[in-house]
């Protein structure tokens, strides 16, 4: 019988953690792993744990991988599509709360908020300092009342994405969260939040540097505003 919930995870060289994430997934969800050009055995490990694996032939960027995962998920009759990071910072035990919140509120998108919840000790300075004003800026542009706009732990109502498929076309390749919210607000999609706890990364290092991240987000906002004017 077709499951109602699917989790999509974009990964890049997360061989050491992907197995652990998949083993903690509830058995009532399907999992799609989008391997964004890994050079290790991430895809093999994910397949061994029963996940559906999509391979990008080269590294295209986190947001491109996210869109690939969404497109694959939309090929089937899922009700809810959940996006989470593949670095072990998001807890699969929060998945039922995303689904419950969506069903309770009827919102199109449920975002995990580290501000409403908590984050690990030693969270990077730039994230603590720059994300709140960035979120305020996005709220001003979109009209949403978010507390954490950059969290990659999100749930989407599949039907809403099917109705607005063009929202996913031609996005920023790496840091599209800001652009995504601007597009969603233009399409009239509703957003709510739930508190989540962010864990510290156990293996490897983030590919997001301060300058690259800041520049990527700025570009994403400009692209979102331009898209809004044109569409």
């Amino acid at each position: 019988m077709q499951k109602k919930v699917v989790v999509t995870i974009a990964v890049l060289n997360e061989q050491r953690i992907v197995g652990d994430i998949l083993s903690r997934m509830p058995d009532w969800v399907d999992v799609i792993i989008v391997d964004d050009g890994s050079t290790d055995d991430t895809a093999k490990t994910a397949r061994a744990h029963g996940a559906t694996v999509i391979n990008h032939p080269l590294n295209l960027g986190q947001s491109m991988a996210f869109v690939t995962g969404l497109r694959v998920a939309l090929m089937d009759d899922y009700e809810v599509i959940i996006e989470m990071d593949g670095d072990g910072q998001h807890d699969p035990r929060d998945i039922p709360r995303f689904v419950d919140q969506m069903r309770k509120t009827g919102c199109d998108i449920v975002v995990g908020s580290r501000r409403l919840g908590s984050s690990y000790k030693g969270e990077p300075f730039f994230r603590r300092t720059f994300l709140p004003p960035l979120t305020k800026l996005l709220n001003w542009i979109t009209g949403y009342q978010l507390t954490d706009s950059m969290c990659g732990y999100r749930a989407f109502k599949a039907d809403s994405l099917r109705k607005h498929a063009r929202l996913l076309q031609d996005m920023e390749r790496q840091y599209a969260a800001a652009e995504l919210f601007i597009r969603f607000s233009k399409a009239g999609l509703t957003v709510t939040e739930i508190p989540i706890h962010l864990k510290k990364r156990q293996h490897g290092a983030s590919y997001k540097g301060l300058v690259r991240y800041g520049w990527g987000v700025a570009r994403s906002i400009v692209r979102g505003i331009r898209w809004r004017k044109v569409s």
Partner: protein, 126 residues
């Protein structure tokens, strides 16, 4: 004519012929016009070098070669800018192509699995 003028004329001739051949293949009129200006200028300066001083004086420049340097540098900036835009466009296309390949591979894999499953179900029902 000096040897350098002859060399310039030969290069200009090759450039003109190559530009026309490119135009016949690709039908890009703007490219043809731009490169014809470059090759014809090179040809004219090769045949009549003093003309550079005359043209430089029209732009209030005393020394002819300075004018050539200035125009060449500006032309190079333009070419680099055009190349940069072309590369950015190609990068976007490569990304979409790679994503399409990934989705196509997944669809094919799924079709294979569905076909195998269908075959197994048929043999069971028999």
């Amino acid at each position: 004519m000096r040897p350098i003028g002859v060399l310039g004329l030969i290069i200009a001739s090759f450039g003109i012929i190559a530009s026309f051949r490119q135009y016949i293949r690709r039908k890009r009129i703007l490219g043809l016009i731009l490169w014809m200006i470059v090759w014809l200028s090179l040809g004219i300066v090769s045949i009549f070098p003093p003309i550079v001083y005359f043209i430089a004086s029209l732009f209030s420049m005393v020394y002819g070669p300075y004018f050539i340097f200035a125009v060449s540098i500006m032309g190079l900036y333009l070419i680099v800018f055009l190349l940069y835009n072309a590369l950015k466009g190609l990068e976007g296309q490569v990304c979409h192509l790679a994503q399409s390949i990934a989705l196509l591979e997944y669809s094919l894999e799924r079709s294979d699995q569905d076909a195998k499953k269908g075959g197994r179900d048929d043999s069971r029902s028999e």
